[in-house]
């Protein structure tokens, strides 16, 4: 520990002098891209699954879809995300003859994975919306789907916004495994800086700080959004 300032100096040399910050920016960008695209894909898939779960099951089609959704959710919740990344990157996509970069695979897998989790969040969100909202939509002649999209789901999303925010934060932290399939994220960049200087302490501390700051910024953003949504409730 005595030579901490030397270590810091070495880190600064690489970070600024050798322009490693450019790579850090790239890693940061990739981390955020994977998390954001993953969240968007996750919300879309999660909403679809949640709706399938809620549709009345008199007919065959909803029942079949329901079984498919169950298998999907159990699969993605029952395996670690690293395993999913590896399977998609090295097994599934090559088998299907689809070529994707590590970054693209990461976005896809994180989207599919968070879809499984968000489906449960979304389901409870939809169930938390008063049943009278659906009835009122149906009573003016709108279809189940239209009423869901225009009336119920917007209210459901509002109800689950804090939980979705937490899901986003979880995604950001989980992206630190995407280097398994060769995507350049924050972890990989700092790891490289460490190996090139044979000095990991400072790079890893800085990395941790960047993650913490990211999460703090996002938490603040969610709070702001919640507050402005609550205001729209009472806007005059």
């Amino acid at each position: 520990m005595g030579n901490f300032d030397v270590k810091v100096q070495r880190f600064i040399d690489i970070f600024i002098g050798k322009q490693a910050y450019l790579q850090v920016l790239e890693g940061l960008q990739n981390t955020l891209t994977i998390a954001i695209i993953g969240l968007i894909i996750g919300i879309i898939i999660g909403t679809l699954i949640a709706v399938v779960r809620i549709v009345p099951k008199y007919k065959l089609l909803p029942r079949v879809l329901n079984v498919i959704c169950n298998i999907y959710v159990e699969t993605f919740r029952g395996t670690p995300i690293v395993v999913q990344l590896l399977i998609f990157y090295y097994v599934l996509l090559p088998l299907l003859g689809i070529r994707m970069t590590g970054l693209e695979v990461s976005m896809l897998v994180f989207g599919l994975n968070s879809g499984a989790y968000i489906s449960e969040i979304m389901r409870s969100g939809i169930l938390s919306v008063d049943g009278g909202q659906m009835e009122a939509g149906r009573a003016v002649g709108l279809s189940f789907g239209t009423t869901m999209i225009k009336i119920v789901i917007p209210q459901a999303i509002k109800n689950i916004l804090p939980t979705l925010g937490n899901e986003f934060i979880a995604l950001i932290k989980e992206t630190s495994v995407v280097s398994f399939v060769g995507a350049t994220d924050l972890y990989l960049v700092f790891n490289r800086i460490g190996s090139s200087s044979y000095e990991f302490m400072v790079p890893y501390i800085v990395m941790a700080f960047i993650y913490i700051i990211l999460v703090l910024i996002i938490s603040a953003g969610i709070k702001l959004m919640e507050r402005s949504l609550r205001k729209s409730d009472r806007r005059n």
Binding site: D130, G132, Q133, E135, A136, G137, R138, A139, V140, G141, L142, S143, T146, K150, I151, P154, Q155, K158, S232, D233, R234, R235, N236
Partner: protein
Amino acid sequence: MIDVINLEKHFGDKNVLDGISVKINKGDIVCIIGPSGSGKSTFLRCLNCMEDPTGGQIIFNGVDIADFSVDINVHRRKMGMVFQHFNLFNNKTVIENIMLAPVHIQTQELNKAKRKNLLLPITNLFKSADKKEAPVAITTTKAQIKADAKENAMNLLKRIGLEEKADVYPSTLSGGQKQRVAIVRSLAMNPDVILFDEPTSALDPEMVGEVLDLMKSLAEEGLTMIIVTHEMGFAKEVANRVLFIDEGKIMEEASPEEFFSNPKTARAKDFLSKVL
């Protein structure tokens, strides 16, 4: 206009509606009264298939809407419904509440017509010369639909004296205001009939009057209404027919004068002695 034939509804093995037959004519103001749990709401909700009937027919404008193969959404547009708890769309402003369905439905029809015209050259290829279809005339635009709906909604709001509330969210309204907006939301579809399920029983007493007054004025304009209510005074004054329902059956059907002054069945006598 509505011809209910032997309507039945059971939940599990519980028989809630036990063979109800009744004819509703254009311009009728029918009040449905009866003890709690007798099946009044269930009957009303079966009329627009909010609950699917388990037996019988509901002929509305010549179509049996209890039949699963009909597109119920199309028929519900002509059969409004007003709920005890208002059920205004919480995520929409007052005026959006009123405009939503008309705009959505007309836009949908416009898009359908446009799609059809687009495909016409192709579908016509396969038809003999005399069977070729001409494109549907498109006389409106999306903007026009919106503008018309907005004007109509504003007029409806003016009618209930709430035009300055057009852009607020329902959570800021009083119960009476909410219910009046809910009523004009139904009106915006130009329905042939509106179903009311205890429209005033969730209201503070001082707000009951404003809602009943609006309903009265609709009655005077000749709108057909079917109203489940505990407001006996209103039923006496406004209804032209009273249906007394008990145990899932129509026990008595009469004019209000006759029903309230001279009920025939023991059950109706018993019920009236309790509520009057």
